[in-house]
Amino acid sequence: MAEKENNEELLNLFNLLTRFQEIELEDVEMEIGDFELWLQSRSVAHTALSKTVRATPSLRRKPTNILQADFMPPVEQYPGKVVEVTLGATKGEGGTRGKSITIGGEEAPAFYLFETPPPHPPVISLDVFDTKIPLAKPVKMHFADVMEDPVAWAKLAVDKYGADMITLHLISIDPLVKDTSPTEAAKTVENVLQAIDVPIVIGGCGDPKKDLEVFEKVAEVGAGERFLLSSVTQDMDLERACAVAKKYGHAVLSFTPMDLNQARQLNRQLYDFLPKTQIIMDTTTAALGYGLDYAFTIMERARLAALMGDPELQHPMSSGTTNAWAAREAWKKMDPEWGPREFRGPIWETVTALTLLLAGVDLFMMMHPAAVKTLKDTIQRLTVGQPVSPKNIADWVAAKI
C-alpha cells in the first residue's frame, strides 16, 4: 500500500483538535461598545491619510528618533446593506425549534472589522443524507454508524459535531436513485424535526420537477418551521415554488451557476412572489484548485455590489462548501509525500471554507467535523474575540520549535 494506515486515533483530526484546542471564549453576544473607538474615528480618516508623501531622503538628515505617524482606519461609507433572513422558528414563533438563527445584515465587506462588524456570525449547517451514499473515506470514518439513519445522523451532527443547523439532503427522491415519494420524504423530515431542535435546510435532488413536488409536501408538514428550501433554480416553476414558501412560512435558496447576472435575474424573478427577507442566495461553490478563484471572486463582487447599493444582490450568501471534496487532492490516496488523506481532505474543505468566509458567505453547508470545528472556532474568534497582546509572538524569531 502506498499510504500506511496509521493509527486511527492519530488520524482522527476532530478528536485531536477538540482535545488540544479548546476555545475558552464564552458564547456571548457582541457588545457594540467594543467598537466605539473605531466608529468615532471615522470622520477624520480621509483627511489624515490623503496627505502622505513618500520621503525624499537624499535631501534630509537621517532621523535620530522614531518619527511619529498617525494611523486612522481607512473606513468607507456604503449606501447598501444586506437583508437579514431568519431560519428556524421557536414555539413562540410558530415552529418547534430550540432557537432561530438570523444571518445577513452586513454593512461592510466581510470582516472589515475596523468598519462595521457583521451583526450576526456566519453559521454552519452539517450535511445529512436520507440514504446511504458513497462518501470519501476521511469523512466516512466520522459517520460510519449512522449512514443509513438520517435521524441518528442529524443527532450526531448536532450533539457531537456542534452543527448550528443541519441540511437534510433528500437525495433518495431522485427518479434516478430511489424515486422516494413526496409523502415518504415528508415522513423523514418529520422524524428529523422531532429528533433535533436546530433549524433545518431541506435539500432536494436537483431535479426541478421532483424537487418542487417534494418541497410542497415537506413544506406542509413543516409549516411554520422556517426551513430553507434548497434550492430554487431558473428551470423551476418559480411561482409554484414561492407559493409553497409563502404559504407555509419558509425561506428559499436562490441558486445560480457562477454568474452575477443570472443571480440578479433569478432574484428579480423571485421578488414577484416573495419578500426579500425570505431569500438567501448561492452563486455556486467550486473546490480549492477546481475553480475556487471564480467562486471567491463572484461572491466577493456580489457582496461589494450589494454594499454599493445593488438591490438584487443584497442577500445573505450560502455556500455548498462540501463541494471541496470534489477535488481529487481531498479524497484520493496520493504519494506519501502529500500526507494522509485523513488530513488532506479536511484541510481542503477548511481552506475552501475560510476563503469563502473572507468573501462574505453567511451560511456554510459542510461535511467534515474537523473542518467544521476550525471554521466555527475562527468565526467565534472573529466575532466575539477581544483584542490580543502580541506578547506571545514578539520573539518568534528565536523560538525553539
Binding site: 492519530l10 472589522l113 478563484d293 461589494l304 475562527t378 518568534w396 520549535i401
Partner: protein, 478 residues
C-alpha cells in the same frame, strides 16, 4: 488633468489616452507595437513596461519618463529580494481586490531553518524546499525562499548557519534576528545575495537601517499588532533612506486571528484605496507562529493551525509567508490556493486542444469530448478518471470558454467537433463510431452526427455524473 505627474491611486482611472499624451509619439515601432497608442494600451494593461520604449530612455525624456513612472507605478511597491539571477519580486500590487485588475507577484513562500538545527536537518529542509513541486493545470507549483532564524542569539553560530545555507541553495534568503550584531554576522557571508533583513523594530531600527543601507538589502519592519507604530517606523526608515521595506503587522494565531485579519486588511486598504504610501509596501506573514501556541499538543495540531493561518493570509493580502512545516498536506492546499487567487481573472484559462488518453483505452473504449476551458477540462478529466473507465477525451478548441457559453456563443460548433475527430484520427483508434457529448451541448447532436458521420450519445449535464452514465449507458451501448 495629466501631464503634471498627478497621482492616481486607482489603476482603472488611467486611460491609454492619458499615457499616450506623454509618450514621444514617434510611432517608431521600436517597442514592437504598431504605434504609440498600442504601446500605451499595453502599458495600462501592464503587459509591457516603460523600459520597452527606447526613445523614452533618452536623456531629454527623463522628466516625462518620471511622470509616466509615477502614473503607472503600483500603490504597493515592488521589492526585489535576492541576487540578480536568483531573485524574487514581491508586492507590486495594483489593486485591493483581484477582480479589479489582477494580482501580481504571487505570495512568496519561505521555509525556515535555524542556526541551532543539526546540519542534516538544515540540508534536508533546503532539499525539501527546492524539490517541492506539484503539477497543476499545466503549471509547476513551487516553494520560493529559505528563512534562517537565529535561535541561538550567537553571531558566530548565525554566521556559520547562513554560510552553510548559502553553500547549498541559490534560493533567495530571509535573515531573521532582532539583534543587529547577529544579523550583520550573517549578512557578511552573503554580501551580494541581497537577502531580506528581518526585522527592524522600535528598539533596533537605527542599526537595522544602517545594515540595510550598507548591504543594500530590503528591510522588513516588525510592529506586532500596532499599525500606528508600523507606520511610524515606515516613515522613519524611508526618511533614513531605506526605500525597500516589507511590513509585518504580526501573524497572531489563535485568539489573535481577529486582530491579524483586521491589521492586514486595514493596511492594504489604506495603501490601495487611500494612497497611503507609508503602508504601500509588501506585507509579510509568519504562520510559523502557530507553533508557539500549545507546546504540549502533538505536532499535527500546530501543522493544522499553521496550514489554515497561511491560507487566511494568502487570501488577505500577504506577499511573503514564512512557514515551518514541510508536510505535503500543509503546503499543497496553500500553493494551490495561491495559484487560484493569483490567476489573472481577465483571461480565461485554457488548455491545449487535442486528444487526451485517460488510462489505457482500446478500440472499444468510449470517446468523449469537452472544451479547452481549463477548469472544464480538468474537472471532466478528473471525473472520468474517478469512473475508472479507460477513455479517449477530445479537447475541442472553444477559445477557452465553458461548454454552455461556447455553444450559445458559437465558439463550439459541430464542424469543430468533426474536425477534432478527424485530426486526432479517432476512426483508426476505435472500431465503434459513438461519440459521447456533454449534456450542455445536446442541441448540437444532429449537426455533429451530420458533420462527423458518428452516432451521438448525449452525456450528463454535469461531468460528476459521467461515472454513473458510463456504467449505465456505455456497457449497454458496447
Amino acid at each position: 488633468m495629466v501631464g503634471t505627474g498627478a497621482k492616481k491611486t486607482n489603476i482603472r482611472e488611467i486611460s491609454p489616452i492619458d499615457v499616450y499624451m506623454l509618450l514621444p509619439k514617434t510611432n517608431c515601432k521600436e517597442c514592437g507595437e504598431e504605434n504609440c497608442m498600442a504601446f500605451a494600451t499595453k502599458l495600462v494593461n501592464r503587459e509591457l513596461r516603460l523600459q520597452s520604449c527606447p526613445p523614452l530612455l533618452k536623456k531629454e525624456n527623463k522628466k516625462v519618463y518620471g511622470q509616466l513612472w509615477e502614473m503607472l507605478k503600483p500603490p504597493i511597491k515592488e521589492v526585489t529580494i535576492g541576487a540578480k539571477d536568483h531573485s524574487i519580486k514581491v508586492g507590486g500590487k495594483y489593486v485591493l481586490y483581484r477582480h479589479e485588475f489582477a494580482y501580481t507577484n504571487p505570495t512568496a513562500i519561505a521555509i525556515d531553518v535555524t542556526d541551532e538545527m543539526p546540519e542534516e536537518e538544515v540540508l534536508a529542509r533546503i532539499k525539501r524546499t527546492e524539490q517541492f513541486s506539484y503539477e497543476y493545470i499545466g503549471m509547476t507549483l513551487k516553494l520560493n525562499m529559505i528563512a534562517i532564524r537565529s535561535t541561538s542569539g550567537d553571531p558566530y553560530k548565525f554566521k556559520s548557519a547562513v554560510k552553510k545555507v548559502a553553500e547549498h541553495t541559490r534560493l533567495p534568503l530571509i535573515l531573521c534576528s532582532f539583534d543587529s550584531k547577529v544579523l550583520e554576522a550573517g549578512l557578511m557571508v552573503v554580501q551580494n545575495a541581497k537577502p531580506l533583513i528581518y526585522a527592524a523594530t522600535k528598539e533596533n531600527w537605527k542599526d537595522m537601517a544602517e545594515l540595510a543601507l550598507m548591504y543594500q538589502c530590503p528591510l522588513a519592519v516588525f510592529a506586532p499588532n500596532d499599525v500606528k507604530l508600523l507606520r511610524s517606523l515606515s516613515k522613519t526608515l524611508t526618511e533614513y533612506g531605506v526605500n525597500d521595506l516589507v511590513l509585518d503587522p504580526g501573524t497572531l494565531p489563535g485568539e489573535g486571528i481577529r486582530d491579524m485579519i483586521n491589521n492586514f486588511t486595514m493596511i492594504r486598504r489604506a495603501a490601495t484605496k487611500k494612497g497611503d504610501e507609508l503602508l504601500g509596501f509588501p506585507l509579510i506573514g509568519t504562520p510559523v507562529t502557530a507553533w508557539l501556541e500549545n507546546a504540549e499538543a502533538p505536532k499535527e495540531v500546530a501543522e493544522w493551525n499553521e496550514a489554515y493561518l497561511a491560507a487566511i493570509l494568502i487570501d488577505r493580502y500577504a506577499d511573503i509567508l514564512i512557514l515551518h512545516s514541510t508536510e505535503g498536506w500543509v503546503l499543497l492546499p496553500n500553493v494551490v490556493l495561491r495559484q487560484n487567487i493569483y490567476t489573472d481573472p481577465r483571461k480565461p484559462v485554457a488548455v491545449e486542444p487535442g486528444l487526451r488518453i485517460l488510462g489505457t483505452p482500446n478500440e472499444k473504449s468510449p470517446v468523449m469530448f469537452t472544451t479547452n476551458f481549463a477548469l472544464t477540462y480538468y474537472t471532466v478529466a478528473s471525473d472520468i478518471e474517478s469512473a475508472g473507465v479507460d477513455s479517449y477525451l477530445l479537447v475541442v478548441d472553444s477559445e477557452g470558454i465553458a461548454v454552455d457559453c461556447a455553444v450559445a456563443g458559437r465558439k463550439l460548433t459541430a464542424d469543430k467537433v468533426a474536425e477534432a475527430i478527424r485530426d486526432d484520427k479517432m476512426e483508426e483508434k476505435v472500431k465503434h463510431r459513438k461519440l459521447i457529448i456533454p449534456g450542455k451541448a445536446a442541441r448540437l447532436s444532429g449537426e455533429i452526427e451530420e458533420a462527423s458521420g458518428w452516432n451521438v450519445m448525449v452525456g450528463p449535464r454535469d461531468s460528476s455524473d459521467i461515472p454513473k452514465y458510463l456504467k449505465e449507458k456505455w456497457s449497454q451501448a458496447d
